[in-house]
Structure formats: C-alpha cells, structure tokens
Assembly symmetry: D2
Homo-oligomer: 264 residues x 4
C-alpha cells in the first residue's frame, strides 16, 4: 500500500495567485511529510444553500488556473463537475474529475465522467448507504474506466447535521477502489446557518485521524488561509497554517495503519 494521498485546496477558486499560494504550501507540506498531494478547487459552486452564496470564477477561468497550478507546482489537480458537458471540458484539463455527493446517482454524469478517461472521484451521497456505492461505481466502470475513487463525506443524521460512519470506509474498500475520507465536509452542518451551511472545523482532524488509522488511501481536506472570510465552506475548512502539522501527524498514523490495514 502506498503512502497517504492528501487531496487539499480551497473550497472555491478565488484567483490564480490564491490557488498557487495554497497549492505551493500544501505541496511543500505533503512533500516534507512523505504524503502524495492532489490540488483540489472548484470553479463553480452549483448548489449553494441560497442564491446569495458566491458561485465562483466559472469553468473557463477556473480550468485555466488549475492548468497553471498543475504546470507550476507539478501536482495532479482535481475539480468537480455538474453536467455531462462540463465533464468533457474539465476532463481535458484535470487529472481527477469529481462527482458531487448530491449528484452521485445521476447516470449521465457518471458515464460522461467515466468517458473522460480521468480518475473519477465519487462522493457518496449524504442519502446513500456505503454498500450502495458499488452500483454507483459500476456506472463509471461500465465506460471501461476503472480509475475510480470513493469518498465518504458524511451521512444525513437528523436535520442540518451529518455523521461520518467509520464502517463506511472498509465497507466501500471491499470494491477494491481506493477510499478517501473527506474530513472537512463530514463536519459540515448543511443549511445550519440559515442562508448558508455551518460547520465544526474543530472536528475535521478527528475525522481525518480516525479514518487514516484504518489504512485508507487518502484524505480530502479543504483549507484556506483565512477560513472565516472564505466565500464558501469557511466554517468547516482548516486554516492553512495548521495543515503542515496535521499532515505530519496523519502520516505517522498512516505508516502503522498501512502495515496492517483493516480489510473486511
């Protein structure tokens, strides 16, 4: 088993310089700790809680920045898409196409993502059991593309709350696909602030450590130098200056976990 992959970046792209700054910082932190790194950022937040939430730079400007991050930092880049047409456009630029959790059962989107030939990271819907993900992955795999990642990002638990069920990680790993823990969305409080989602940033390292100790393939963590003023997902993002220490700690757990990963 290979060392932990850290998929990290800001929730949404804000500018070329901002993306580059975060990518550079994360690449260095991962490199020092011996982790693999994938830069993540969204060009469009297509399902904001309310119309007042900022949506982002748009696909054209966004993909240009991701291309430059990739060239300059030398790391793979990931972004999420929202329809089949976007799959084709983004797939020509990024390494990993991500399927948002709400859209994880939209057949056409999954097929289009598979057709890009990119790695496809599918977030498990908040409304889905982990043992239902093989059906979802099969939609992508039916295109002949088996470069699939499955991501846990929390399950609906009452109203405005998610819970991250650790059983879901080894359960999804039974598919043979690498499993990722999304530590920051798992602690989101959907709609929890009325016009936007709340979050419990302080619990993100809890989720990451617990999951890494099971021997998973990677963690997904959104980060920002000033989460409280970020245009989206501020309440659950981890401050950038805490990331180097966190990645280092996770790598310590990863090493002993990978000696004896939990397999069902």
């Amino acid at each position: 088993d290979r060392p932990l992959t850290v998929i990290a970046g800001p929730c949404q792209l804000e500018s070329r310089d901002h993306a580059m700054m975060i990518a550079k910082e994360m690449a260095r932190a991962c490199d020092q700790a011996g982790a693999q790194f994938i830069f993540k950022a969204s060009y469009d937040k297509a399902n904001r809680t309310s119309l007042k939430g900022k949506r982002g730079l748009g696909i054209e400007a966004g993909l240009k920045i991701l291309e430059e991050v990739r060239a300059e930092i030398g790391c793979p880049v990931l972004t999420d898409i929202h329809d089949a047409e976007q799959a084709r456009i983004a797939g020509a630029v990024v390494d990993v196409i991500q399927i948002p959790a709400f859209l994880c059962r939209q057949t056409d989107l999954l097929l289009a993502a598979g057709d890009t030939g990119c790695v496809v990271n599918i977030k498990k819907g908040q409304f889905l059991a982990p043992w239902d993900m093989p059906n979802v992955a099969d939609k992508v795999a039916s295109t002949g593309n088996e470069n699939i990642l499955l991501t846990e990002r929390g399950t609906s638990f009452g109203y405005n709350t998610l819970v991250a069920d650790m059983r879901g990680l080894p359960e999804m790993a039974k598919t043979g696909y690498p499993v990722i823990m999304d530590a920051t969305h798992s602690v989101q409080q959907p709609g929890g602030q009325g016009g936007s989602s709340g979050g419990q940033r302080e619990f993100a390292p809890v989720m990451a450590r617990a999951a890494v100790s099971l021997g998973i393939a990677g963690v997904f963590i959104e980060t920002h130098e000033a989460p409280d003023t970020a245009p989206s997902d501020g309440p659950n993002m981890i401050p950038l200056n805490q990331m180097p220490k966190l990645v280092q700690t996770l790598m310590e757990f990863d090493r002993i976990a990978k000696d004896d990963p939990i397999r069902l």
Copy 2:
C-alpha cells in the same frame, strides 16, 4: 382553501396507451370524489440505483404522450426534468415542471425551471430540513415565477430508509406556497433491494391520510395496474384499482381538514 389536488400516475411512461389508461382511470376517480387531478409521469429515470434499471422512453417520445394525455383527458400534466435544457423543452409542453429531490439545490436547474413560467414542483431533498426549503424556493422565485409547489417525500433515516416527518408539512406551508405530500416515495427504501430500491406500499395510505388531515394542498401518489411488474418503483406504488377508494377516503379527511387547516 380549495379541494385536495391529487398528482398521480405511473412512475415512468411505458406507452401512450398505458399512460392514457391510467390518466383516464385517475381522472374519473378524482372527478367522482371531488378532487382536482394532475397526471404525473417521467420520460427518463435519470438516477436509477443501478445501471440495470430501465430509464424510460426519452424526452421526445415522452413529451408527445404527455401532450396527448393533456389533450384527450383534459387534465394538467407534470413531469420531472434533470438539466436546464430539458426545462426549456419540457416546459413548452407540460403544466408542471418537477425538480427531483436529489437535484433540489442545483441552482441552474431551479432557475431554468422558473424561467419556463410553468408551475414548479420542488421535491425536498432527503438530506434537507423543511426550514431550508425557503432558500430553495427563492431560487425559483428570483425568476419572477412564484407558481411553486413544495413536496415532502421523506428524509434520510439511517441507511436505506426514509421517514416522513409530519412537522415538515406545516413548516413548509409557512412559505405561503402550496404543500404536497408524496405518499409513495416517502415509503421508498432507497437501494433496499441491492440493485434497486425497495418500498413499503402498505404504508403509502398511512402517509397520505396523516398528511391530508393537516389540511395540505395535495398528495402525490404513484400508481400502476400491476406494480410488481412495473419497470421502476413497483415496491412503493399503489395498485390502480385501490385508488378510487383511497381518493374518496382522502377527500373525506380533506373536507374536515380544510375547515380548520393547521397553520403555524
């Protein structure tokens, strides 16, 4: 307050004759009971549990049938859409555009649905609190279209199970928009049969009666002459021959409920 609206039809369109048969039967049943009737059917099941599930007749053939049902039976027709382009195409034919629950936060879809000028029926996502629906409705209303219906169809409750919270109905009614109870999807068991969803058909009348007693605007019920062989949602659809009696019973409850509807 006007008498109960019954939105009913098969889960998916199977053929012109099949649609016409169900529409005719339901129109008669509603007419006899004094209920209003809207025919519902889908031309595409875009988010089946697995790739093996039948998707439907497609948008062109489907809309043609809906147009004929409308002309021949003289009832409004409703269908669900899955992207902005479909909103425009379907909106030219149907009376009510429906937003699927999984897609209820996709901003572009809601805006496109609003732009059609049709009535827009938004299903509350299984992952959403009822008090988060005003934000969702605002996206449609921002287009100037306030012909909005809000539908309860169950909330995630553990894995592979939904629960219908009766509090959600008057809570959503605080928006001033008519509220609908989807009695058959509320008793769905998502993914509950491995490769497809299960359902507890026997509880659909429970949901309908409980909800109608609160004084809501309408019920949504999928029905089929032979649910066990229907191409989708068979486990939760109500047999067509039970519908006339059910509608009649619901109208009895509707009459006393509408005398004193619950308002928060």
Copy 3:
C-alpha cells in the same frame, strides 16, 4: 371500534387543587366532544435532564392526589413507575400503570407492571423500532395480563431531536393491542435547552391529528394552564385552554377514521 381515548394531564403533579382543576376541565372537554378520558400525571420525574430539574411530589403524596381525582372526577387515572416496588404500590391505586420510554426494555419492571393487573401502557423507547414492541409487550403478557397499550412518543433522529414515524402506529397495532399517540413528547427536543429538554408545542396538534386520522385508539397529551412556568416539559405541553377545541377537532377526524381504520 370505540371512540378516541384522550389521556391527558400535567407532566407532573403540583398540588391536589392543580390536578383537580385540570382533570375537571379535561373531563368536561372530553365529555362534550364524546371522547373517553384518562387523567395522567407523574409523582416523580426520575430521569430529568439535569439534577436541577424539579422531581415532583413523591409517590405517597402523588398517589393520594390521583386517588382523589379518580373519586371526585370519576375518571380512570394513569401514572408512570420506575421500579418494581413502585409498580406494586402505584398499582394498588391507579387504573393504568405506565412504563417510561427509557425503561421499556427493563424486564423486571415490565413483569412487575403486568403483575399488578392494571392496564399497562408501554411507551416505545426512542431507540426502538415499532416492530420490536411485540417482544416488549410479551414480557408483560407473560404475567397473564394482556391489558396492554402501546404508545408512540417519537424516535431518535440525530441529536436533541425526535421524529414521529406514522408507520409505527399501524405497525404496532398488528399486535392487536390498542395504540396511543403521545402528541406532546413526540415534539420534545431532548436536552435541547442545555440543562433541560426543549419542545415544539406548536407541532403537537400536528402529531395528534395525523395519528388520529389513521384510526388509532387514543392520544396522549400533556397540558397545563401556563406551560411556560410548568416545572417540567413546559416547551411541549399544550395550553389547557386550547384543549377543548383540539379534542373536538380530533373527534371529527376520529369518527371518519374509525369508519375505516388503517389495518396492515
């Protein structure tokens, strides 16, 4: 099927006069509406959220008041017990012994309650599925006492929240035992105010109406002339002056529901 039974009273006994006042008022309201009436009150709140919550008058003083209410108003009386010894003591006085939800799986308590020969009203635990209640009822029935009532009072739904699943009512009715809807505890928010439970009083009539429309045997409603100053459960109790109208409305629904109660 007999007309609806209304089990009502204050959460806890405060004084003889207070109990008598509420019992008289409720007896008259039920009589006028044609409902059956059982007076309910607790002599000890044995599981308050915090130590600071008021516990009540104690078993001796409490049972004395219940005895007097019974004699003077001429209605059956119900109280809840917390151990086997209390079952014996209370069982000598009251008509209905109630098993608290948290204690619904305590075998010795159920056996002792059965042994009293009283009617035993078992509240379904917030942690229990409705189809698990036959096992619970069997414990009581094993004593030879089959005068059993089963009460829905909400199920855990995330943290600090309950949801009342209407499916549970006909599901529990499959046992053949009369089923009761506890409309006020179903809208409790356990621990929701830090040192005490919150509640959503405005939804209690929602629960009552929805449940009565299914044709259940009775409703359980806590009421108080000034809920906001009541020593316990104020946030979810219904003001006493709203009860006559509510009981009347429920009886209208009960009449048509009992013509065709939902049976699984």
Copy 4:
C-alpha cells in the same frame, strides 16, 4: 497521559472457570502489550430484547466470581447495575460500577452509584447527544465522587442500527473525565434479529482503532472464545483468540495518539 486501558470480558458471566479463563487470557494480552486491564462481566442482563434471552447467574453468584477473578488475576473488575440497591451490593465488591446506556438518565441510580465511592462508568444513552453527558456526570459528581468514566456505545441511527460518532469522544473529554470507546456495542444492531440483537463483529476493530487514534483513555470490548454460542451479544463480540493481536495493534496507535491527543 497514561497507556490505554482495555475493559474486556464476556457479555455475561457463565461460570467461575469461564470468567477466570477469559480474565487470565486478557490480562496476559494486555500485560504483553503494555495496556492496563479491567475485567468486565454482567451478572444479570436486565433488558434483553425478548423474554427468551438468558439473563445470567444473578447478583450473588456473579459478584462472588468477580471477587475471585480480582483476587486471582489481580485486576480491577467492573460490572453493571440496574437499581440503587444493586449499586450498594455490587459497590462493595467491584472497582468499577457501570451504568447501562438505557438507564443513564435515571437520577436515583446515578446517585446510588456515586455513593458507592467506586469508579462509575456511565454509558452514553443511544438517545443522547455527547454534549448532554455533562448533565449526567453531574448527577454522579453531586455525591462527591468524581471518579467518573464516560463511554460512547453508539447512537440511534434509523431503526435497528447504531452509528458511532467520533466527534462524541473529544466532545465528552471536554468534561475532563476519561473517555472510553465501547467498540463492540457500537456495532450492535438492536433488535436486529427479531428476538435478539444482531451485530457486526467485523466492524468492532474499526471502531476501536478509529477511537484510539484520537487519544482516548480506554476501549471497552466484549470477547468470548466462541461468540456464536455465547448466551448474549454473540454477534458483536470479538473472538478471544483475536484479542492479543488487536490489543497490540491498538497500543501502537495509542502511543502516537497519546503524544498528541485531540483536545477541543
């Protein structure tokens, strides 16, 4: 921070020899791995799913065995109690008195447990939020006894299912009391086999590892040499012969976790 404490033993006492065998095996395994060990066993299963479930040896015979285990193995012993009288009797023998989850809000039981002067291990109810446990602990602490442990054992998640929320561990640790993860009850499926509870034994190590990685004080694990024929909780107990390896693995995680335990 001290090394991990392992609270382990069979669900219920079966015989002196059986208890001794398991205690000896576990004491050796913990000793070799550098973990602290407390022997756990119940003399009475007071809340079995159904009346047919075996209850146990009873308090007198049970306490005698626990006393002998303590004397012969030299380890502290823990048992659970069900009423105030049992607290006094058991408290004279055991080191740790345990409050069952269903009973965690019964004030008199908590006070009686506190009065014994024993360590009191309180299991968080399946119906309780972690932030509600300070109120529970305060009931014990009001007796002047602050030797309190708080145990996570899963939270209701839909019907017949529990979920272990890792956030609960550091949340409860904010009280300053040591926090324990009950790895085997967290994977219980309450009532899941109709007349008894099911369980997902394969996930117990998942829960243990995830929790230990956060730097908690201890794990609680029920074990049996032949779980499938055990009189209770077989489906979720870990086979005894897998325990030495598991404890060793947990200690590896404990060491790095204790270097930097998660504190909120």
